[in-house]
Amino acid sequence: MALLPKINLTFSYCKKAPFPVPFFSHFLLELRILVQCTERGGRMYLLSRQPYAPVDNHLWRKIERGELGTLEALQRMGELRPGSVKREELQRDSAVAAAAFWELKQLVGLTEVKQIVEEIKAYIEIGQQRAAHHLKCEQLVLHMIFSGNPGTGKTTVARLLGRLFKGLGVLARGHLVEVERADLVGEYIGHTAQKTREQLQKAMGGLLFVDEAYSLGRGGEKDFGKEAIDVLVKAMEDNRHDFILILAGYRREMAAFLKLNPGLSSRFPIQIAYPDYSVAELLEIAEMMAQQRHYSLSDAAKKRLQRYLAERKRDLNFSNARLVRNILEKSIRRQALRLSRRERLSREELIIIEEADLAVEEQ
């Protein structure tokens, strides 16, 4: 049977066209000439109806522009997580999360820290299971304040948290950007905002760790530190799930800093106090550090170190595990010097750090 052409004029409405519309940004007035064909065995109606959802995704646009080939497009789709284009890089890796959590558990002391991190980890894991059952699960705001004396493990824990959150699929990269006042505060008007934004950009997908954060509040109203705080606070709100801000500093100074900036404290739902280590804990840390380096402290060396740490603990500038690490590293060098004067050395002699090697006098 011959084709029977019939011409229809239709106007179709399209909120977001899948291609650039030169004259109408939101409304596409589309004129189509439709040909209705009738043949034996079946009918075919050509209609201007889009069977799929309108294109509003950056990925679709790239494909349309020919920037992605078939395999690249499929690969990008494989990286896509439901619901959010911004979170397309997020991938869970339970092995990374388990390793980071195990390392955290191995840290000496820090009971409160471990407890809080375990709670966060459990919340995230249960949240993922709830999401699988289509139950509501609010994403936690994870900005934190770490307060504690030097050497109490603030930076170590922050690094582990980065890996843990990456493994749990909370952060895309999980890297730690460590900054201090000089990295954020500029020298002239407008410079501070620019420097702070640069650091924030570096930290996207990871953690921004501001060490000695209280120093941003020093210098009064005219100091540029306040501007840095304002930029950080804005970024915390705007990109609350794209990075985690950790403000760290000594306990007293941080308490004073938060008092001076009312409203700041409430923006940090997780505030962790890092207590000073006890002498027993510091000794345990020393033994662990030595073991990691394939050394061992003799009993006499341990006793000497214990006495020394008990004495130094009263100092105001006592630096906890950092002091222990410095002592150990110096002691290792001293042991090497002592052994270098001898000819034959046993395996045990190469391992043991004696009391005489212990560098506790000048510390």
Binding site: Y45, V55, G69, L74, G78
Partner: protein, 203 residues
């Protein structure tokens, strides 16, 4: 409840013939469909015979059309309606020509909208480049479906022809079911795999 199945694969793997024959196998006497890409957008209804005659492409190249066949399953559980999306052929060329880009876009959108992704590979094909392409497509699709919570299946088509052993060993993380779109061998197992597993996905 409705179920949509995106049938994807390279050119001349038997996607269209599979969709028509599987729809008929599921009980469709008239195939209602919508289509986009290629000559334009449209919808219509055809008998399976007419659909086979007109839609199955015997040329070497794909036609860039994405069609959705809707099969109504009255009185059947768990699904009342199944949409079989016959996607445009996936091509390896990079960069793709303009027509290829719009076909790829439609295909990926179809995959995105479907609950089940069925990749078809030609078991009789002896081209190593094609095996490698199918393999990579399969890996990316498997990854995508894993994150999106979709069911991903692989159907080794043209099982009625002598099977190329290399293609049968394709290393993709899905389930391989051997079918023949022409003889309809393996359709029963495919049906139970799709309907059974898809309903378990829906809880």
């Amino acid at each position: 409840m409705n179920l949509s199945i995106a049938v994807v694969g390279a050119a001349r793997v038997g996607k269209t013939l599979f969709c028509i024959n599987f729809a008929e196998y599921l009980g469709a006497r008239i195939l209602s469909y919508t289509q986009s890409g290629g000559a334009g957008q449209g919808r219509g209804a055809l008998s399976p015979d007419a659909a086979r005659e007109r839609m199955v492409n015997h040329g070497r190249r794909g036609n860039g059309v994405v069609r959705t066949f809707t099969v109504h399953l009255p009185q059947r559980k768990p699904y009342r309606r199944i949409a079989l999306i016959d996607t445009a052929s996936l091509k390896e060329n990079n960069p793709l020509p303009r027509s290829g880009r719009s076909a790829l876009l439609l295909t990926l959108q179809a995959i995105h909208s479907a609950a089940v992704v069925l990749q078809m590979i030609d078991l009789s094909c002896g081209d190593p480049a094609r095996h490698e392409f199918d393999d990579r497509v399969g890996r990316h699709l498997a990854d995508y479906c894993r994150w999106q919570g979709k069911l991903f299946l692989i159907a080794g088509s043209k099982a009625d022809l002598p099977v190329n052993s290399h293609q049968a060993r394709i290393a993709v993380s899905g389930k391989m079911l051997f079918i023949s779109s022409l003889t309809r061998a393996g359709f029963s197992r495919l049906q139970s795999a799709i309907l059974g597993e898809a309903s378990s996905l829906n809880g």
